[in-house]
Amino acid sequence: MILIGENIQIISKAVSEALAGRQAVPLQELASKQAEAGVHWIDLNIGPARKNPTETMSWLVNAIQEVVDLPLSLDTTNPVAMEAGLALCRRKALINSASGAQDSKERMLPLAVKFNSNVVISVLNDAGIPSDAAARAESIMETIEYANNLGISTEDIWVDPILMPVGVGQQDILEVIEFVRMLPDIAPGVKSTIGLSNVSNGAPRHLRHILNQVMMVILERAGLYSAIVDSFDQDLIDLNSGKKQEVIALIQKVMDGEDVDVSVLSAVERDYYKTARVIMGRELYSPSWLEI
């Protein structure tokens, strides 16, 4: 799976301060370390950038391109900042993100045409986040058609099903998995991506990684093309590069509803097993799901 490193994001205090003070070094280090960790894209999340949108994104894109050669995913809800950043990207960039909401269709999607870039299109529309797989499909089909008509080619579209936290709704995770499975049939040729860490939002901090990892393995099996991830989760990177085959096999067994002999599992394997059961909706989530 293609990994997009999420660690340069405005919610982080260090990033926010460095960005506000135009201190390039900490941000460049963050980009270089993510590249070394092995991700394939670098996400630059500057939030809504209400003050100086053009100057902020331009400065950041230039600063990051000085130190890494990876393609950039520009992450802002502000079309002015987005446009300024796209104009400077050396490699074909990724707009993160557009959606089926009217405002986004009118202001974000045309930028993908203008700069011949890739674009994340989420299933969000003016009615909100669709409630199940079928409603997601309906929403994305409309937006893809709109994007195609603008001149955006299908292979440049990265569909985002929108992943909700496990503590908010386990059923919704199953709908996302189902949607990812049906995507090649309903929209042949589109790519896909997802904000992976959202699944563990609200979960105990020290347990977020295992939720993210299991979610990634399951979504990869379902056919997801890429994910926006915590670059510094080494186990996640390892799982993605095919190490720990026994863990992947175990998670897939849970996915397929096969019987697993828990008594022969190691402690680590047991944690993956329990987490996979929670993600697949077989066990009701609680913040102490590993302790039963």
């Binding site: 503590g167 066990e283 009701l284 989530y285 609680s286 913040p287 102490s288 302790e291 039963i292």
Partner: protein, 293 residues
């Protein structure tokens, strides 16, 4: 006929409260609320609420109604059982707000427990430090009386539940209207406390004030326990209705409406899966009982 009926894998264990001669049982169902045709229904308890010092924050109509007994928790509790037919007394320790010595509060609880022939639930303020200081003393002074003590929160479950265990009481585990947190607290408790001695309080709202959230939480907890056999949620549920119903604007303005509000809220939550409902007005209790039977 039998082939059309569901058999569920999970069940709520019976919970016995009170001592020899005045024991009562609740829970014990292996089916959904009021599915008498399908399995063994649960044993419900309609409780009346009593406060251990004068209920100065209760609406004036209720204070007037209990004017003859409200200054004596023992007399009040007796009247609720003997005259009004309460199946359980829910004693709110509002004296904790005045920071009375814990031993004094506990002695008052013991007098009430000895005075009535129904089981007693004893409820603190829901403040983690104060409850952790007082409820263990209540547990100890009332040792062996098999009370239902609460609320036990995530942050004070060690102190309170350990004392309850040592002195033979059951506990009320309270969480803010969230099935995942209900499960979490029961997992924590289950490490040292028997889960068949836990009652879950997922918090309650009155009709028109968010009842649907309370309903949905209770319903999902009960479905997980009975239909999906989630062993961590197979506890009876308590709905503390009186407090919520009698603070609504309707109840404050008009005691008649208050009774209707309390009755409608309580009955709705019994449908969602509540095993204990706590009420403040005996007329509500009569009405709920008439609906249930």
């Amino acid at each position: 006929m039998g082939k059309f009926l569901e058999k569920y894998p999970g069940e709520i264990k019976e919970l016995r409260l009170g001592t020899e001669g005045k024991q009562a049982v609740l829970g014990g169902q292996n089916t959904l609320p009021f599915h008498f045709f399908e399995g063994r229904p649960g044993k419900l308890k309609l409780a009346l609420e009593v406060t251990d010092s004068e209920p100065s924050d209760w609406t004036p109509a209720l204070q007037e109604f209990y004017a003859d007994v409200k200054s004596s928790p023992v007399e009040w509790a007796r009247k609720c059982v003997d005259v009004f037919g309460a199946e359980m007394i829910f004693l709110s320790l509002n004296s904790m707000e005045k920071d009375l010595p814990a031993a004094e509060i506990a002695a008052g609880v013991k007098r009430v427990a000895e005075a009535v022939r129904v089981p007693l639930a004893v409820f603190g303020l829901g403040e983690k430090e104060k409850d952790a200081a007082v409820l263990p003393v209540v547990a100890s002074v009332c040792s062996g009386m098999n009370l239902l003590l609460g609320p036990v929160l995530k942050d004070n479950c060690q102190e309170i539940a350990a004392a309850a265990l040592e002195h033979g009481h059951a506990v009320i585990a309270q969480i803010p209207m969230d099935i995942n947190l209900a499960k979490d607290l029961n997992i924590r408790l289950g490490k040292f406390f028997p889960l068949d001695r836990v009652v879950i309080d997922p918090l309650t709202c009155a009709v028109g004030y968010g009842l649907e959230y309370a309903f949905s939480t209770m319903e999902r907890i009960r479905l997980s326990a009975v239909v999906h056999d989630d062993k961590t949620l197979q506890s009876p549920l308590i709905a503390r209705v009186g407090k919520e119903a009698w603070k609504t604007k309707e109840a404050v303005q008009d005691a008649g409406k208050g009774v209707l509000w309390e009755t409608a809220t309580a009955f709705t939550l019994l449908l969602a899966g509540a095993d204990i409902v706590t009420l403040r007005h005996p007329e509500s209790l009569q009405r709920v009982r008439a609906l249930v039977h």
